[in-house]
Symmetry: C2
Subunit: 351 residues, 2 copies
C-alpha cells in the first residue's frame, strides 16, 4: 500500500464511483450503494478492491457481464439461514443484502448463515465481516475467489481459488479484531503489484509446473500460488469453495470464471456470511472487555529478534482507516490518470 | 501412524476403555459413551487421540481433574444456538451432546451453532464434525487446543494453542470430504512422535526463542510451533480461540491450562460445532453428487513431479477406517504394554 498521491475524501470518492456506475447504466440507488461500499474498501486500506476496480467494473457493465437491473431475491429460507440469488448483480449489492438479512435473522435466532449464488466479485472480505459489528455481532464471511490460481495439492491444474475468509469481532476500548486472509501465502494482487514494480517475489509464494520456486512475478502465468501450510491451505480453499460455492448452487472448482480476463460470462460467484449475536451467548459488554484483555495480552508478549511489535489482526487496517477518514484516500498518479480517462469517456466530472 | 501391532476389534477396544473408565469412577452410561467415541478415534486413524490417551484420562480422573458425575446442561439457548456448560466432564461427553443438539436445532432452523464451556480435551476434531453427516448435514467443529504451543506472530510468549478446525461434507458415491487440521504447520503430537524415534524435524515446524529453525524434537521445549502461513495461521488460531473459547465463557489465551502437564486444574476448555442442513439449501442428492464431481475433478488434475496422486481431505483417514473396521485397530507393543499395566492397576481384564 502506497500512501503517495493526492487525497480525496471518502464522500467524494463514493460520489464519483456512483456517478460513473450510474452513467454506465446501473440504477441510481444501486450506484449510490456500490459507490459507498467501494469507497469503504479504500477507507479501510483494501486498495486492490476499491476505486482501483472501477474501470474493470465499468468495462464489465458495458459488456453486459453484469445485470444492471437485477432482481436480487431470497431463493431459500429457514429461521436461521437463507440463500440469496443475486441475479448476476454487482457482488456488493448481493452481499450487503445478505449481510443485512443475516443480522436480522441472528437477532431472533442467535446465529444466522446466509449464502449467495449468481453474485460477483464484491471487494475485500473484511467489508462484509465487519457489517455485524455495529449490531454487537461477530461476522464470518467466506467467498469463492474470482479466478482460479492454485491446483489441488500435488497437482498442476488450477482448480481452486484463493477463497478468502474474514472474521470480525468487536472489542470495547480497542479497535475490532478483524482477520481478512486468503488461503494462499500471497494474494494474487500482491504478485501483480511486484510485477508492476519489477521486483522479485520471495520464495514460497509461487511454484512453477515442475514444482520449482517461482520468484519472477513477470512469469506468474507459468505457475501457481502456494496454499498456506501446503495441503492444509489446499484443504481450507477446497472446503471454503464447497461451503461458499457448491452449497449455494454457485460455481466451484473448474466452473469458476476468470473475472479479470472475461467480461461477459456469468460468473455465478458464491459467498456466505454468518452473523453471531453476542448477546445470545452472554453479556455483550463483558465479552467486549474480554476482547480488550486478549488484545493487551497478545501485545504484552516479549518480542522475537527482528520484530518491533505484535500486531492484532486488522490493526494495520484500522490505523490506515483512521488516517484516511481524517485526511482522505490517497489516489496515486497512475490510478488518477486512469480514472480521469474513465471520467472523460463517460462524460462525467473528473474525481 | 504405524500399522504394526496386534489387531483389536473396535468393539473390544470400546469395551476395554469403558471398563477402565468405569473402574475409575465414571458413571456406567458415560463410560460406555466415551469408550465408544475413543474407539471411533482409533477407527478413523486418530491414533494420538484414541486409546493412546486412556492412561492420561484415567490419571486425571483419579486426580480429581474431571468431574466424574457431571451435570452437563444447556446454559444459554436460542432457536439456532446454544451454549453448553460441560460441568468439567470429559470432553467427549460434552461435545457429543453439543453435536446432537446442533443437529436437532439445524433440522428446524437450517443451521445451528452450539458452543461449550467447562469442557475438556475431546479427541480429534473430525469425530465431531462427522456427526452431522449421517443426517445429511455438513459439520464444522473448532476447539481451543489443550495446551498453548505458539506465541502471537512476532512474539515469544506461548499464548495460543494449535486451535484446530474440522469440516465434514457428505458425498454420494465417494467417501465424505473431511478436513481436520491444526492451525500450525505440525501438530504437537507429531513433534513428540519424532522425539520418541530420535528423528529430526523438517525446517518450518518450529523455531527457537531467537527465531532460528529448531529441528531437534528433543529441544522442543526451547521453542514453539509455527503457524501455517505465518501471520495468517496466527490470526486463524486467535480467531478460533475467541470463537470457541471466549465467546462461550471458556479459556482463551493465557488462561489455557496445559492439559498434558496438569491433572487437577479445571481447564474450562471451549469448543463449538455448527450443523448445516443441506436440505435447507437445495436438493440433498444433487449436492452429494456435486461433491462426487468435485472429488473426481480434483483427482483428475495432472500431477506435479514427485507426487503419485491427488488426495482429498479425509481420504487417507477413510482408507485407514475401512482397513480397521475390517481387521481391527493395531495396538503397537509399547502402547499394549502401557495398557496392560493400566488394566492390572485397575484390576480389570487386559485388552
Amino acid at each position: 500500500m502506497s500512501e503517495t498521491g493526492r487525497r480525496v475524501t471518502i464522500a467524494r470518492l463514493a460520489e464519483f464511483i456512483a456517478t460513473a456506475l450510474g452513467a454506465t447504466g446501473l440504477g441510481a440507488g444501486d450506484a449510490v450503494k456500490v459507490g459507498r461500499l467501494m469507497a469503504e474498501c479504500d477507507a479501510i486500506g483494501g486498495d486492490a478492491h476499491g476505486v482501483f476496480r472501477l474501470p474493470q467494473y465499468v468495462r464489465r457493465l458495458k459488456a453486459g457481464g453484469y445485470n444492471a437491473r437485477p432482481n436480487i431475491r431470497i431463493a431459500r429460507e429457514k429461521t436461521a439461514m437463507a440463500v440469496i440469488d443475486g441475479d448476476n448483480a454487482m457482488g456488493h449489492l448481493v452481499m450487503s443484502r445478505a449481510a443485512d438479512l443475516a443480522i436480522d435473522k441472528a437477532r431472533n435466532s442467535g446465529v444466522a448463515w446466509v449464502g449467495a449464488r449468481y453474485s460477483n466479485h464484491a471487494g475485500p472480505a473484511a467489508i462484509y465481516a465487519r457489517m455485524p459489528l455495529a449490531h454487537d455481532m461477530i461476522g464470518v464471511y467466506v467467498a469463492v475467489g474470482s479466478a482460479n490460481h492454485l491446483p489441488p495439492w500435488g497437482g498442476t491444474e488450477m482448480l481452486l481459488s484463493t477463497n478468502p475468509i474474514a472474521i470480525a469481532v468487536p472489542s470495547s476500548e480497542r479497535p475490532p479484531i478483524v482477520l481478512d486472509m486468503a488461503t494462499t501465502v500471497a494474494a494474487y494482487g500482491k504478485v501483480k503489484t511486484l510485477a508492476q514494480r519489477g521486483e522479485p517475489m520471495p520464495e514460497g509464494w509461487m511454484i512453477d509446473r515442475q514444482g520449482r520456486p517461482l520468484t519472477d512475478p513477470g512469469r506468474s502465468a507459468e505457475g501457481f500460488l502456494l496454499p498456506i501450510g501446503g495441503p492444509k491451505g489446499y484443504g481450507l480453499s477446497l472446503m471454503f469453495g464447497i461451503l461458499a460455492g457448491a452449497l449455494n448452487g454457485a460455481a466451484c472448482g473448474r466452473e469458476v470464471v476468470d473475472f479479470n480476463a472475461d467480461d461477459t460470462s456469468i460468473t455465478n460467484t458464491g459467498h456466505f456470511i454468518v452473523a453471531v449475536d453476542i448477546a445470545a451467548f452472554g453479556e455483550v459488554e463483558a465479552f467486549k472487555q474480554e476482547m480488550d484483555r486478549v488484545w493487551s495480552e497478545m501485545k504484552s508478549s516479549p518480542l522475537l529478534p527482528g520484530f518491533d511489535e505484535i500486531r492484532l489482526p486488522g490493526e494495520r487496517s484500522h490505523q490506515v482507516e483512521l488516517d484516511r477518514r481524517a485526511r482522505g484516500v490517497p489516489v496515486h498518479a497512475a490510478l488518477d490518470t486512469a480514472l480521469g480517462a474513465l471520467a472523460d469517456d463517460l462524460g462525467i466530472e473528473r474525481l
